[in-house]
Symmetry: C2
DNA sequence: TTAATAAAGGATATTTTTATCCTTTATTAT
DNA sequence: ATAATAAAGGATAAAAATATCCTTTATTAA
């Protein structure tokens, strides 16, 4: 559905939102470890997110990434857009040059509802909402192998 | 959603189903032109589809591809599987190592229903059904630029 | 039986995505 | 001021996906 870059981006912003405070910023090392992603690639992605203003960053000792508490909540679609994947849900599932209701491909009608709902989720869900559920232990960012029973 | 290879595969089988008869087989050239895909890449894909038994082929003069009328209808998921993309809808949208209800990622619940629906579509819809709608002019495999009004 | 045809198969090339490395810049603590 | 630290940025490398080319094999028509 998303590229690795976009997956890492979403996971990174989630971790930064959960654990990054202005007085206790998160280093790239810390973030990559938490979301289990390749460090240098994650650094690149954080550069982009920082440039786009979706996360705040400070260089130097005790520097790192955090979320400005007075910034507007960030939606999933903002991250997807920052990673230049805004069109994942606008293009034809069979690769036709356009996805349209008037000249639908053979599976257009079957996938349309799905794509729209998902688009809606990306627009409505903010990182803050998802971070809250993570903090409450309702959702997870890593799979922990726990033995059955 | 799918790779180019898978998109071309589905489109190719659709065209072969619509236009390929045992007495009037379709050449690679013809197929690639119809579905507007790069010819040599399409040839590779047709090799795979033929090897997997999803289309029939004959070499030599008047050879080409066709669908054995007494073969079982082919579902979309059979094609997706032949192209080794069966896991597109089984993996976690955020790239976690597993997609599970017990350790759901932050968007698992939001995407689960749609993944299942789509999986169902791929399993139930056969190429024959889709080819019929194409023949009836209800759906399209190419976008024709028609002037408005 | 030979020549022509068309897919099959193998090897290679290109592009995109993913990942790494190194140098520069900003910030902080000393 | 100086040294240490950490992100930013640029250049490069590796892997995967996409695409092309060439040789072989099967089939058919002449
Ligand atoms: S035209 Fe193919 S998904 Fe809309
Ligand atoms: S765990 Fe992420 S989609 Fe199911």
């Amino acid at each position: 559905m998303f590229t690795k870059a976009c997956e890492y981006a979403i996971r990174a912003v989630l971790i930064i939102t959960m654990k990054g405070k202005e007085e206790q910023k998160l280093s790239i090392q810390h973030i990559a470890k938490e979301i289990d992603s390749p460090l240098p690639f994650t650094a690149k992605i954080l550069q982009t997110l920082s440039r786009e203003g979706l996360v705040a960053s400070v260089k130097g000792p005790n520097g790192g990434f955090y979320i400005d508490p007075k910034a507007k909540p960030v939606s999933l679609s903002q991250i997807v857009k920052a990673m230049e994947e805004e069109n994942v849900l606008n293009t034809c599932a069979l690769g036709l040059k356009e996805c349209s209701d008037t000249q639908p491909c053979p599976i257009h009608h079957q996938v349309k509802a799905y794509k729209q709902k998902l688009k809606h989720v990306l627009q409505e869900k903010t990182i803050q909402m998802l971070a809250k559920e993570l903090n409450e232990g309702k959702t997870f960012l890593r799979i922990s192998k726990k033995r059955k029973k």
